[in-house]
Amino acid sequence: MDPAPSVVRLAVCDAIHTLASSEDGGCIFSVLGSLKHYLGEAEALPREREEFARFHFSPLLRCLVSKLSPDWLELLPAGQLEELWASFFLEGPADQAFLVLMEAIEGTAGPSYRLMKLAQLLERFLHAGRVAVLLGEQCQQQAQPGTPLLQEMLLGKVVCLPDYLSNRLQHENLALFLPQRYFPLLAEELVRALRIVADTLRGGVNCSVTFVSQVLGKVCIHGRQKELLGVLVPRLAALMQDDRLWQQVCWRLVECVPDRAVEAMLMGLVEAAPGPEVLSQLLGNLVMKNKKAQFVMTRKLLFLQHRCTMPMLQSLLGYLAADSQRRPLLVQVLKELLEMWGSSSVVRHAPVPQQHHIGKAILMCLVYLGEAELQDIREELLASMMAGVQSHLDSSLPPVRRLGMVVAEVLSARLHPEGPPLKFQYEKDELTCEMLALVAPRPADGGPSTLGKSLSAASVATETPADGSWDVSTAPVQPEGADPELDSDDEFVPYDMSGDKELRSSKAPAYIRDCLEALMTSEDRERWEAALRVLEGLVYRSPVATREVSVELAQVLLHLEEKSFVAGFEALCRGALVAVTVTDPARVAEYLTTQFYALNYSLRQRIDILDVLTLAAQELSRPGCHSTALQWSPPSLGVQGESALAASQLSGVVPTDWKAVVELRIRSKTRRFSKASSRLDPACGPNKFNAVAGCFFFPLIQRFDRPMATFDLLGDDHLVLGRLTHTLGALMYLAVNTTVAVSMGKALLEFVWALRFHADAYVRQGLLSAVTAILLSVPAERLLGELSEEVLEARAWLADMAEEDPDGECRALAVRALLLAEKLRDRLLPHPSP
């Protein structure tokens, strides 16, 4: 064959000409066939092949694409022509074929035969693994000075393929081109491309992974980390297991990711890595080499965000702890974390989830750090801890307090392993258990705990014979004549034994005055306790006698101390105080509200006062509250049907509530079209709270801004202030339909306005619920008539809160209150002027 370059050029020109003009299938087939041997390895000379690939391939492909139509493909039977046509794309240089294909797809407007054919070809292209070839070629070329523009274009097309395709194909899109399918496939192709790179390197030829890194980075920036890395990470981890070369390739891969993609990639890797070991295998010492990576790993993920889950945090901190070079970073991180944890400003202003995030990170750091490393920075840690405990315990949000206690306990145990441990009392909830589980010793090194377990198991084993011998010992001595069936348990159904309580020997007082005397003077603890237990019932039963001594009684109850343990002391005391308040609301409420602002009370007592006022108001405002007195008969047996039950027992029949059974049967056989008919009428009666609402409300709201030596609501005692705002809100809500509601609402709105920028989230929550209560309780027309300006101001504030408050609960409350306000306005003004 003539080696002159013109031969190739002539052949191509001839082919393009034939394609353009000829309608003869056989002719086209033979021309294309002759061109195809330039693609093959064996038949053509390397120089010819290279010339064809470099200069003539793309024009030829474009020409082929332009000929694509149903008529043209059917010039030869059985799809021979189509097969030949496609083979040019699938066997020729991958980058050019890919670019021409994408270009053609983009150039085609709307779904058509042509577009579908091209899409199917692209699908075959992807399935055939040509992308890996493409990536591999780019990597090999990069060793030489390449063509950055072409690479940029390829990069864009490879990564954004799902977007292009779905734009073009719209509803006709193929499943493979959806991101959920495409990116896992791309991950496989990446691994294959890396394999090509690794093989090339093994062959001693230089090769660069930069292009693969760029693809990886770009995919991560596009937010497809989960799809891509979910496949890529396990593959790489398996390959790196015992291969140094692969490890180098992989480290190079993550190092070459462009700076702007580092954050996205690291985030994805931390999420996808199943544990710290895999993460440190993948990343190597990236944090030491790359400033950006160090910033992301040690600051951004830990301090500026809180979206890391527990496994992610564990991977991240474990990665930092896994290498001696990186451990100083971990120590640094712990110091900074503790500093942040201890800062009172963070405790007050950061959202609770972020505080939890920091707390967890601290505990994990403690687990990873050794004794010696901790001792080096002990002083600093102690200082941060002390400040932190103080500010956490000051918080009025229980989760924050608990968080402070847990972290402080664990930290102090690590810092002073020999000293007495710091111990707090707190209720364990899901979160604290989760956090404590973090620091619990792993089963592998838990020597003492397993020993204890086996000991307890042994003791159980020795105990069982003694406990379980009821039947064992009787069985052998039972005479043969006894019929076991007669002795079956079935005939002995136990009766209700819930009334079987501890017997109290001392006699309970029967009169209010005796009770009062017993509570004030009694040295006899049993009598004192009995008096406390019966007091609530007595008060409800004898309101007249109670009114004579109501204030005295309230005073005694408020100052009652639990000198010896009494089960449910607080509930008993509060119940009695509520009963007294309900019985004589005006005087007792006056007494309690003045005591709230008096000197020399503990916070507990002040909070108790608020609780009692709320509960009493609730009791008073409940329709038909006079019936509570009836409930104080001994609750052992229901009044209704008692005689019937007794009769049925005499006759030996198992008593069942026949009315309930009949009801049930009727209900199962009856179909109801609406539920309304079966509903009971609500109990109704005058709102007893109406007359005394003012006595409860105004004395409380008037003096909150006058600090005293021992009690400063606007200062340190913000916990009580929070309770006060909640109480005022509750009182407002309970004053619905009362005449004083409007003036109460006005006063409360002013109160809210004065405190609206309070730093404590709990106080703000109280304010928001108070606003909601105002909206619910004050009649809408009065609200918009007399209080319109205040309401307008409050709405502006609510809108601000809903957007900007750092506390999630506050935002939710604000949104709710806003919605309520909107609804009120809509109802009142059905036709708003345009």
Binding site: V477, D489, P494, Y495, M497
Partner: protein, 328 residues
């Protein structure tokens, strides 16, 4: 219906007998005297009177006054003849003849012990019967053959046993063996099995830390139960080697059990509590079945009739009669 069945509410007593005018300390059911089908209930009170109640009319038929105003602590009828034994705190055991409407003391035995220990009898069809009662010495039990009142033996524990006073006694005789045995609960909380004919201790088990207040024994199943001043019931069994063995304890809510009785059909166990309550247990499994909260003072005694009726006597001067888990 497959719905879970709630436990039935607490039953009420079938009827209540009032009129003893003092605390009831002992109860005993016996078959009707004058050939009537209805059983009688005998009660002994703090004021020294024994009332005989008809369960048909629910009225007191007769009142026996033989203990000079001192508390009657134990009542027992003998199977042959219409004879009643009553033990009083006046240190006398009286034998009454109730046949044909008579009510006279025909004989009496002098008690030497000031304790509260109730006596026990072992009486079969023969005219001779055996009586065990607290003896002269603090820790002794005296066995008499009746009606001749001849002393059979005195059961005196060894000096170093430190059992304290006997608190409750139960004479029984196994079907297989001719030798009578005595179970005695002592002040130190132990239950001792005596072989009466040899006069020696067969076995001893310490199952309480407080004095044993009452015990009962099921000779067929060879299991017994005892209650004490503490919060627990103890169940023990007797094996073929005549040795007592603790089977377990059963906690109750309040301390103090004054009396325990097993129903004659050996299916139920009733206890009289210082906490004013009568507790019913399933005897084989010791499953708690009911807590009868009716009395307002300490319950001193419980008794079962042959037909399963339960009576309890209390310091509130009332006798409540219950019909629970009747035999079918």
């Amino acid at each position: 219906m497959a719905a879970p069945i709630l436990p039935p509410p607490l039953p009420d007593p079938q009827f209540v007998l009032r009129g003893t005018q003092s605390a009831v300390h002992s109860l005993h059911f016996c078959r009707g005297a004058q050939g009537q089908g209805h059983p009688l209930l005998l009660s002994g009170s703090l004021s020294g009177l024994v009332h005989i109640w008809s369960l048909q009319t629910r009225r007191a038929l007769t009142t026996l006054d033989g203990h000079r105003g001192q508390c009657v602590t134990w009542l027992q009828t003998l199977p042959h003849g219409h004879q009643l034994l009553s033990q009083g705190r006046d240190l006398r055991l009286c034998l009454w003849d109730l046949a044909e409407g008579r009510n006279a003391v025909v004989d009496s035995v002098r008690l030497e012990s000031m304790g509260f220990c109730r006596s026990t009898v072992l009486a079969g069809a023969q005219p001779r019967w055996m009586l065990a009662m607290p003896g002269r010495g603090n820790d002794e039990v005296e066995i008499l053959e009746m009606p001749s009142k001849t002393s059979v033996c005195t059961l005196k524990p060894e000096a170093d046993a430190k059992l304290g006073m006997p608190m409750c006694l139960k004479l029984w005789q196994a079907d297989s063996s001719p030798r009578p045995r005595l179970l005695a609960g002592y002040e130190d909380g132990s239950v001792v099995l005596w072989d009466v004919s040899e006069g020696k201790v067969c076995s001893r088990v310490t199952c309480h830390t407080e004095p044993v207040m009452g015990l009962d024994f099921d000779s067929q199943k060879a299991r017994g139960v005892s209650g004490s001043a503490e919060k627990a019931l103890a169940v023990w069994s007797l094996d073929e080697q005549q040795s007592l063995k603790a089977c377990g304890t059963h906690e109750v809510t309040n301390p103090g059990i004054a009396d325990v009785t097993i129903r004659p059909d050996r299916k139920l166990l009733a206890t009289a509590g210082w906490d004013h309550r009568v507790r019913i247990f399933h005897w084989r499994t010791m499953k708690p079945l009911a807590v009868l909260d009716f009395h307002t003072a300490t319950v001193y005694c419980v008794a079962f009739a042959d037909d399963g009726l339960l009576a309890s006597g209390s310091g509130d001067q009332r006798i409540s009669v219950w019909s629970l888990y009747q035999r079918t």
